[in-house]
């Protein structure tokens, strides 16, 4: 326990001759842990468009459109809290352990859902608007879509 000006020398010398502590990305990648919360994935065949994940998501990142039959997620708002996974009645959501890929658009991830709700409202069942058949990336953003199921957040 005495003052010494050389206490750091050992650490500094070790630092000097050791391999870097960081991984030489992108040549080598650090494996993700199975528990890592990366991004939300969906099994579109199981989803029943029940809107529960949309209503419960604390950041409002999920937008489910019953009429347009799409499930969309804003990866930039999602906080990886896992709440949607817990509340989904069909267990069709899960957390992948890879981080989401970079994106420029907010609602870039829109999944068309094949499920048809059993008792569609007469209005919605009449004639599906033709633009709904466009591929998802051209579809209108659900928050502008008619009859969108977006909750009005305060």
């Amino acid at each position: 326990m005495k003052k010494s000006p050389f206490k750091m020398t050992k650490v500094a010398l070790e630092n000097l001759f050791r391999r870097p502590a960081t991984v030489p990305y992108p040549l080598e990648r650090k494996p993700m842990y199975p528990a890592t919360r990366g991004h939300i994935a969906i099994d579109k065949d199981k989803c029943i468009l029940c809107l529960i994940c949309d209503k419960r998501c604390p950041t409002g990142a999920i937008k489910v459109d019953r009429i347009g039959k799409t499930w969309a997620i804003d990866r930039l708002s999602c906080i990886q809290c896992n709440y949607c996974v817990e509340v989904c009645p069909k267990k069709c959501l899960w957390m992948e352990n890879l981080y989401a890929t970079p994106t420029q658009e907010k609602l870039a991830f829109v999944v068309p859902i094949p499920y048809t709700p059993p008792t569609p409202k007469p209005k919605a069942a009449a004639t599906p608007p033709p633009q709904r058949r466009q591929p998802p990336h051209q579809a209108r953003r659900p928050d502008n879509a008619k009859g969108s199921a977006i909750r009005n957040r305060d």
């Binding site: 326990m1 005495k2 003052k3 010494s4 000006p5 206490k7 750091m8 050992k10 650490v11 500094a12 630092n15 502590a21 842990y33 528990a35 890592t36 919360r37 419960r56 604390p58 906080i79 990886q80 809290c81 896992n82 709440y83 817990e86 957390m95 305060d154």
Partner: protein, 359 residues
């Protein structure tokens, strides 16, 4: 008598990534008075509690602070559970204890790096942060997040940790602990470190107590108070002894934190084999009605959560008294009489987290 000058410290200052403004009244190079002003990053989190479902608010509570995130979430849940009279499963209490201690280690190691940076010891700063990665890896492996654990939940914890992962943790932490010894020796014995820390910003035990200091600031001045001794979560089954230093200067506060890191390693060694099997959460029905104030020990000191429910899904009132908020009056006292060049170091030794203080 020398002329008095006012030097503004912050809100943008290299030593702090967060905005706080202190007007330093100086005579020559000596600070005679420090006048703080707040409110640069007020986020209105307490008001938000009145608009969100009480279970959903856990996510917001966890984000009150980016460093002691887990204990914020856990404290909020503990307060709600007390109001609702829930007895959470035993495994959950142990996991909560484990995550609290992991978060204490990573917070203190980060702080050690920041302190080294504040007095210009870049090499030491890097060394602390490099080792902290080892702890963050353990956190990520168990909770899934690196700094925001996302594991707090009213009625238990959000994630279970498999026994296989749990059994690996002590060995992983041992590596970090062994390497940390070299670095903490530098803080303890190095000539430059001691020159910058010893006898600077002294706070007497009486002053610390009277001004309401908490955590390492209080214990660094010799008071034997640690909220973990109240025995929340699984702390009643562990052997927790407050770490006390008596000098009351910056060095004493540093030593308290360093010894607390080793204490946390020790507590983790105690707690991990004790984790019982069983469920990790329970179904929560109904809504909180009544009020409660929960007290917990964060890395930065004692934190108080006050919740008041009226039987509805939204809380009537939520309030959190964060440790930094309590440590500001002692800080102002410490700054009186110090040299201007020591101000950044003294401010850093309370481990300021201004965003927490302003919620």
């Amino acid at each position: 008598m020398a002329n008095r000058t006012i030097i503004p410290f912050g809100p943008q200052h290299p030593v702090l990534p967060e905005p706080i403004h202190i007007d330093l009244v100086i005579e020559d190079e000596q600070v005679v008075e420090a006048i703080p002003s707040f409110g640069f990053i007020h986020r209105g989190l307490e008001k938000l509690a009145e608009k969100r479902d009480f279970t959903e608010f856990t996510f917001i509570a966890e984000r009150i602070c980016g460093i002691c995130s887990y204990i914020h979430g856990m404290g909020y849940c503990q307060a709600i559970e007390a109001v609702m009279g829930l007895q959470i499963p035993e495994r959950a209490t142990y996991l909560r204890t484990m995550w609290s201690e992991l978060s204490r280690i990573h917070s203190h190691m980060m702080w050690m790096g920041l302190l080294a940076d504040a007095f210009g010891f870049e090499n030491l700063f890097m060394a602390c942060w490099r080792l902290r990665e080892g702890v963050l890896d353990v956190i990520e492996e168990t909770s899934g997040g690196r700094v925001i654990f996302g594991a707090a939940k009213v009625g238990g914890v959000r994630r279970d940790v498999s026994d296989e992962v749990l059994s690996r943790i002590p060995a992983q932490l041992k590596i970090v602990e062994d390497q940390l010894r070299d670095i903490t020796n530098v803080f303890r014995d190095d000539y430059s470190t001691r020159q910058r820390l010893c006898g600077v910003g002294t706070l007497s035990e009486q002053d610390a107590y009277d001004l309401g200091a908490v955590g390492p600031v209080l214990r660094g001045s010799g008071a034997k108070l640690d909220t973990r001794m109240e025995g929340y979560a699984a702390y009643d089954k562990l052997d927790v002894e407050p770490i006390v230093e008596t000098a009351g200067d910056c060095w004493a506060r540093t030593m308290v934190r360093i010894r607390e890191v080793y204490q946390s390693f020790d507590l983790l060694r105690q707690v991990i084999p004790m984790i019982p099997a069983g469920p990790v959460d329970m179904k929560v029905t109904g809504a909180p009605k009544g009020e409660y104030a929960a007290r917990l020990e964060q890395p930065r000191g004692e934190v108080i959560y006050y919740v008041k429910g009226n039987g509805g899904k939204q809380l009537d009132r939520f309030r959190v008294r964060t440790p930094t908020f309590a440590n500001i009056p002692p800080l102002l006292k410490m700054l009186q009489g110090c040299q201007l060049a020591d101000v950044p170091v003294i401010v850093l030794t309370i481990d300021p987290c201004i965003s927490c203080a302003e919620r």
